[in-house]
Structures are given as C-alpha cells and as structure tokens.
C-alpha cells in the first residue's frame, strides 16, 4: 500500500535539507559563498515554516501522524533556522582565519538545523530520536573540527561529547522500546503510562526516555559533558550547543513528559540541575565555563515546569524561547569581544571590556540581565515570571520557591561578570602617567566584522522587542 504524502507539510524539512545540499554544491562548485548559501537557506527554511499550512500532517496511520504541523513547531523551526544563521554569521571571522574548512563547517551546521526541524515537527518517538540524532551528530564533528592544532582541548571535548551523547541516545531508545513493548504506543499523542502487568515496564521505559533526553539538555547529574565541550569548542559552536542543541532536548523532553507521569523524576532533575549549575558557576574563572554552568542552571528552570506535566509545557517552551535568544546574545557578544579564532578566555580577559566597546558591553549586559531575570533584560524577567506562575498554578509552590532562590544565587555570578566589564583599570605596578591609556594600548579593541554586528543587532532588537511585547510568543505557544 502506498501512503499519501502531504508535501506542503514537509516544506520546512525540504527547505532545511535543501540548504545543506545547497551549501555542499556551493562548496564544490565555487568553493565560496558557503556561508551565504547557509544563511539564505536558513531564511528560506524559516519562511517555509511560516508558510506550511497549519495543522497539516503526514505519514499518518489513521489519526496518528508522525509529522504534525503546529504553530509551536513552526515557531521552533524559525528559531532553529535563526540560530543556525546567527551562528554561521558569528563563525565568519573564525572561518576567515582558517580555523576550519568553511564548506564542511557550514554543511554540518545546516545538517544539524535539519535535525532541529525534524524534532520540532516529530509526531512519534522514532522520528523524535532520529531528529535528535541528526541534530547532534554533526555537532560531534563541529566540536573537534579544526585545521590547526590551535586548541588542544577540542579533541577531548569532541570525544567526551560523542561518547556521552551516544550513550544517552541508546538509553532513550531503550526506553522507547520498553514503552512500546509495554503499551504498543509510539506516537506522541497516544503515549500512556501503561496498565496492568506492564505498568512497571512502562514506568521504567518512561524514566529511561526522560534520562536519555536529559543528557541532551545537560541536566544534572547528566551534565558533566557540557562545560568541557563548550569550553573546548570554538565559541560559535558552543553558542549552537547551548542554544539549538538544548532547544532540541527540551522539545523531546516536553513531548514525553506531557503524557507520561514523570513528575517526580523531572522535579528532582530540575532542582539538582538549577542548584548545582548555579553553585558551580559561582566558582568559575573562565568565561565560557561560567556561561556553560549558567546554561546548565537555566536548563533547570526550563524543565522545572515540565514536572507539572502537560500544564507546564507552554511555560517551559516560553522560557526556552526567551532563553535561547538571550544565550545567543551572551555567547555572541563574548565571541565578538574576544575576536576570531580564540576561545572564551578567562574572566580577567574581560576586565574593562565594556568600557572599550560600549555597544558590545551593552549587549552583554542585556543578555546577562535577561539570564538573571532582571530588567533591562525584560524578556528574561517574563520568562521567569511564566515559570513561577505555571508552577504555583499547578500547586507546586515549593518548586517555584526553589526556582526563585536559585535566581538569587545566579545573580551573584552574573553581576560579578557584568561588573568586571566596567571595572576600573587596576594599577600595573609600575608608575604610569595614564593607566587608562596603557590599558587601552595593551588591550586593543578587537574589530567586529559587519556580519557579526548584524547578527548581534538582530538578536538584541528581537530580545528588546520581546521584552516589551512578549504576548505574541505566548499566543503562538498556546495555539
């Protein structure tokens, strides 16, 4: 029997996969324009995601479909496309320095975007896991991909990431298999906890799926790979890991927890994740490590409302959307301040950076304030309010309290990093007439390429706009 395929519903996937092909062809035919092709393709993917007919579905058996178009899936696809384009833009200076082969880099990143789109539209567990693997597989290579032995940390980082990720996929697949064996359900819309003899088997299966996906969002105690990997990778790749890759994990986790009763596991994961992430972040002395640990903690805030089940999914997604935007800005500003081909550096490398480059400083302040959930990062404030509101509505007041107290711990390192940007110049120990001048001479301002500026400006404008008008995001997620 042949199955009717709704090609309109698959438009975003075609566009995303086409982008990867386009990059490949551009690389083979012209050996240039790869990044341009990637950015244009990502834009096309976003347009297709918006254009795909709402509620269209395909690969169906009866009412159950493996590919479902929803406004939320469209929003998330747009986000994946935007993040891919943004990370491509951030990588331009690094690639110009010859850090990695441009064609391969852009191809792998757009492949990863394709995986993200699949995850967003997935309607069953298999599609979800396949999409998630397509999202992460290219990233193993991206983390370790470099021409020169510039960064000795890259190879171990890539291997760590690879091993952990493969294990987590195996765990999630095993969970899916057990669940299928116990309940016969694979489609997300009919996942159930199982009954009778197989109830325990189904519970184990659900727990394994949650644990497998928790690896992807770097939830404690399954987080150890994240700081090593982020710090070993080039900053733009770390940007992608902490935004798009994490978003994929959140989608997968949300798809599962809203129909299976996994509240306790998720709540424990959330509490551990935010608390450990924040406490360890307090002690970091390297910028990317600090951001990595803070993003571990942020994952805790994202999954906290998932403990509630279906009622918390909207809040989790709202938080995730605001979070990836702010996280992109933070990493992007760090990459721009540090210049091409360098790692994130130590915190001391950022001493007075905001005084040297006031716009990049302002972007970083906006991002840090947002991640801390404070004005002027209003988007982050709304994100936090949404999470607390959904938890209290569902009667999980204690978890809301843990989230709130964690926000206080987190502020300690966010203000430390932010204050450093504007710290006064410390005397160097030798008599100097104008220490400011000497500092400026020894810490030259890194020129920021136009393409990076464009990515950051678009991101910052989006973050400010969503800070003043977050309602559209809530509207899309609620539909």
């Amino acid at each position: 029997m042949t199955q009717a395929v709704n090609h309109a519903a698959l438009l975003p996937l075609y566009a995303a996969a086409g982008t990867a092909l386009l990059v490949l062809i551009a690389d083979l035919a012209f050996a240039r324009f790869q990044v341009l092709a990637g950015v244009l393709g990502a834009a096309a993917t976003a347009v297709c995601a918006v254009a795909a007919p709402d509620r269209a579905a395909t690969f169906c058996t009866g009412d159950l479909c493996s590919w479902v178009v929803t406004p939320r899936a469209a929003l998330l696809s747009v986000l994946f496309a935007a993040l891919t384009a943004g990370v491509l833009a951030l990588s331009v200076p690094t690639l110009r320095e010859g850090y990695a082969p441009v064609g391969e880099f852009a191809f792998l990143l757009t492949c990863s975007m394709t995986g993200g789109v699949v995850v967003a539209y997935a309607g069953d567990l298999i599609t979800l896991i396949v999409g998630l693997e397509t999202l992460t597989l290219p990233l193993y290579i991206l983390v370790g991909l470099h021409r020169r032995r510039a960064n000795p940390a890259a190879a171990p980082a890539a291997v760590t990431f690879f091993l952990i990720s493969v294990v987590s996929t195996a765990v999630a697949s095993l969970g899916a298999a057990l669940l299928y064996a116990a309940t016969g359900a694979l489609h997300l819309s009919e996942l159930t906890g199982g009954a009778g003899r197989f109830a325990h088997l189904a519970t184990v299966g659900a727990a394994l799926i949650v644990i497998g996906f928790a690896f992807k969002v770097a939830a404690v105690p399954l987080h150890a790979w994240a700081p090593v990997t982020y710090d070993g990778a080039p900053v733009p790749v770390a940007t992608y890991l902490s935004t798009a890759s994490k978003l994929g994990g959140v989608i997968a986790l949300a798809a599962v927890v809203q129909r299976l009763d996994t509240g306790l596991v998720v709540a424990v994961l959330a509490v551990l994740t935010m608390t450990v992430g924040n406490l360890v972040a307090l002690r970091q002395t390297r910028m990317v490590r600090l951001l990595a640990w803070s993003s571990v903690a942020q994952a805790g805030y994202i999954i906290a409302p998932l403990a509630v089940g279906a009622a918390g999914v909207e809040a989790a997604f709202a938080y995730a959307v605001f979070f990836v935007l702010l996280e992109f800005l933070a990493f992007g500003a760090v990459a721009a301040l540090r210049g091409p081909g360098t790692d994130g550096g130590t915190l001391n490398d950022f001493h007075g950076a905001g005084r040297r480059d006031k716009w990049l400083g302002a972007v970083l302040v906006l991002a840090f304030a947002g991640l801390a959930g404070l004005p002027p990062g209003l988007a982050g404030l709304f994100a936090k309010v949404t999470v607390v509101e959904s938890l209290i509505t569902a009667g999980w007041g204690w978890l809301a309290g843990v989230v709130a107290l964690n926000a206080v711990i987190a502020l300690a390192y966010y203000v430390r990093a932010t204050a450093l940007l504007y710290a006064r110049v410390t005397p160097v120990g030798i008599g100097v007439v104008d220490p400011e001048l000497l500092h400026r001479a020894t810490h030259p301002r890194v020129p920021v390429p136009a393409v990076v500026t464009a990515a950051l400006v678009i991101g910052a404008v989006a973050a400010v706009a969503l800070g003043f008008a977050p309602q559209p995001i809530f509207d899309i997620l609620a539909r």
């Binding site: 304030a369 404070l374 004005p375 002027p376 209003l378 404030l381 709304f382 936090k384 309010v385 949404t386 607390v388 509101e389 209290i392 509505t393 007041g397 809301a400 309290g401 709130a404 107290l405 926000a407 206080v408 502020l411 300690a412 203000v415 430390r416 204050a419 504007y422 006064r424 977050p470 309602q471 809530f474 509207d475 609620a478």
Partner: protein, 515 residues
Amino acid sequence: MTMNPPGVSGLLQVLLIAVLVVPAVGALVVALLPARSDRGSRLVATGFAAVTFVVSLALVLTPSQRDFGWFRYTATDAIPVVPFAEVDLAWVPRLGIDFHLGIDGISYPLVVLTALLTTLCCAYTVWKVPEGGSGRTLAALMLVLEVGILGTFLALDLVLFFIFFEVVLLPMYAVIAGWGGVRRREAARKFVLYTLFGSVLLLLGVITVVVAAGTADMLALAGGFGLSRTTQYVAFTLFAIAFAVKAPLWPLHTWLPDAHTEAPTVGSVILAGVLLKMGTYGLVRVGVGVAPEGAAAAGPVLGILAVAAILAGSLICLRQTELKRLIAYSSVGHMGFVLLGIATGTAAGIQAALIGNIAHGVITGLLFFLAGAIKDRGHTGDLADLGGLRETAPRLAGLLGFAAIASLGLPGLAGFWGEAFAVVAAIQRGSALWITLAVLAAVGGALTAVYFLRLLRRVTHGPATPAVTGFTAIARPEWLAWSPLILLTLVVGLVPALVLAASADPVAALTGALR
C-alpha cells in the same frame, strides 16, 4: 479592562504616562549623547528630571472629574480605593499583566518626592561628579532609577508593581559599584543580592495572590478580595519579608549601612530618600491592601520587630564612628517607626507611616547631602577626625545641626509627626503589648536624640581639627540642591496636611477591611 477608566480626563492620563516616559526617554537620550559633551549631557539629564518633576506636580494639581463616591464596588463591602488619575492598558494578557497606573493620596507625596530628589541629584551631578566613571552615565542611571521608583509608586497591577520593583535593582548596583568608595564592590554585591532575595519572595507572593484571585488588579484586590485566610497568611508572610528587606526592617537591614557608606552622595540620597520607601509603600499598598487578614495577624510580630529596629538602630548609632554609617543606621531606626505605624493597622498608624516616609526621605536626603559635602571637603568621615566644624564652616555646621534636630523629631519640623503618631497609634491599640511597644518606641526616640546630639557635639563643637580646616564655602549648586529639602523640612513640619491631604479615603479603604 477598559482603556479609559471612567471619569479620568485624557489630560490626566497623558500626564500619568508622561511621568514615566519623560525620564525613560531622558535616560536613553543622555546615554546616547557623545561622551565628549559630558557636562552638556548632565544638563540635559537635569532638564528631563525637572520636566518630570513639573509633570508630577501638574498631575497632582490638575483637577480630577472623578466622582469618588459610588462607582466602583469591590468584592467585599470595603470603601473602594479610587485613584484620582488612572490609565489601564492591556500588556501581557497571558500573565494577566495590565499596564495599569494610578495615583492617589497614598502615592502622590512619594511620586512628587521622587521627582524632586532626582532633579536635585541630577543638578548636583552637573556641579560635581563623584570619582569612578563618567557623569553622563551616572545621570542616565539616575533617570532609570527614577523610572523604576515612580513606576513602583504608580503601578496598580500587582505584576507590574513587581516589574518596576525589579527595575531599580541593577541601576542602583551600578551606581554603588561604579561611583562608590573603597569597598564599593562588596557593598554593591551585598545590596543587590539582599534586595533580589526580597524581590523573588515578592514574586512568589504576587503570583500566589494572582493565581488565587484570578486578577492582578490592585484596586479589585484591595481589601482582600475574599481570598482565603491561608492564602492571605502565606501571601502576607512573603510580602512582609520581601518589603522588610527593602525597607529595611531589623534584622534584615545589614545591607543598608554598607551600601550607604560606600555609595556616592547622590546614590545615598536616592537610596535613603525614596528607594527604601518602596518597601514601606509596598507593605501598605500590597501587604496590608491585598492581604488584610494576614496583616492583622502579623501585626504584633511586625510591631515587635519594628520596635526592635528602633532600639537596635539607636543603640548601634551610639557606637558609630563614621558619619555616613551613623546616618545609615539612623535610617534603620526611623524606618522602624514607619513600620510600627503600619503594624498597628489603624488609619492613624498608616497615616503616621506615610508622613514618616516623606519626612525621612526629605531629612535623610538632606543629611546625606551634608555628610557628602563634609566628606568631600575633609576627605574623611571619621567622627574622631572631625570636630569644631562651626569654627571653620559655620553655615555647614548650622545646616547639619538643623537636619540632625529635624531627624531626631523636634516638634515643628518634619520628623516629629511620623514618630509621634506612630507611638500614639500604638497606644490607641490599647492592649498591654501595644502599650509596651509604644513606650519602648518612645525610649528609642529619646535615644535618637542622644546620638544625634552626640554627633553634633563631635562634629560641630570643640576645637577645629586639621581635617575641617580650609573648608570651602557652600557653593551655589549645593545651596540649590539643599534649599528645597530645608524648606520642605519646615513646611511638612508646620503643615503636615500637605502630605496627608488626600490620604484619608485611601487609607480608610485599606484599613477598612481590617476592622
């Protein structure tokens, strides 16, 4: 939700929005001005602050056509709170946030005071920029602070109130950390972490109320909205701790002395003058207003803590050796009186708290200006090194004496009313506990006199020390910044009705549910 609440003229609504938009635009403009025109941008900032002040005055003086009698009924039969100017726009329906602003007898004195102090501080910044950073950035931050503080006083939506409450956090941190004294970093961090701890509790309380009541409209919520007793208890506990950190109430006050000592003069003035008032105002408007049963139940505890604050503040002040630190600790005692008034839960008590708020803002603002002037000239704030000020700078010494005497509560000056009536309100409660508290508070008031007189004896009397010799005369900008505060100290002291004029109805509405 109507866009135009009935009976409010379009002009008033425009003024109400302008009072927030003007400083916000001002901050943006000042921040974007080129760095080389530093003095020019400080002048621009002062202009924006002055316009805000004029708008805030116009807001109060424009006649409202509102019929205060009948048209809004709350869930309970309490007297409704009717602001005389109001704007209500939907903002984020998903979270139930309306951009709902209003001004009534409780908030207008604070609004005007905020606008006035910001203007004075900006003007002062034109004349003198504290060491540490550009004056332009400092002026922009002052305007951002003004937006946050005014927004807090104007907000009539609980979540909006919380958002404005948070707005001041980072700018104040930046002011202390950027332009502060030697130990500014630690002081600023302590300030920001303490106050964020307070505001996350506020968030929990706000959301608890909003989820239980299904609305964030503070007008509808005033008087309890039929919230269950448990909800009110939980909410009030959260609110009380949150605002106690901000106010600050002993024993959650430890951030305050450090922040004040390290902050630049203008930062201290804003901090003591109006930022602390966000805590006491919140306790009245949100704590007592939204969870009256919780407030009634917690009254004795709050009262005991308030009196402990008065006594602790006074005793600590007796041992202080640093000028700004002493004034900072005196704030703990003064805010104790304000909280005692609120704790009584009676109309008289809350009116005492309102006037105490204003008086403390004016007088302590003036005291910090004077302390800053002395520290800038003498390069020390150590009481042991200061002495004989009246020999070398008689005018400065005279002003310090005036402010100190006003602060210790001399009848006829602003400080008297709040403290005296807080004690009277406590006595009126009648029970043994409240009378004991009143007596102890009065003892604390007497101790206030002791330490301020000790301060004056140390600083102004005796032989002149090397530190106070060669003081320059008071400059014209200083007179400009100080004289409104001196005048207000006198005027509020002589005509307290100026502050309390329109507060009777809203206070009755808030306390009505308690009885």
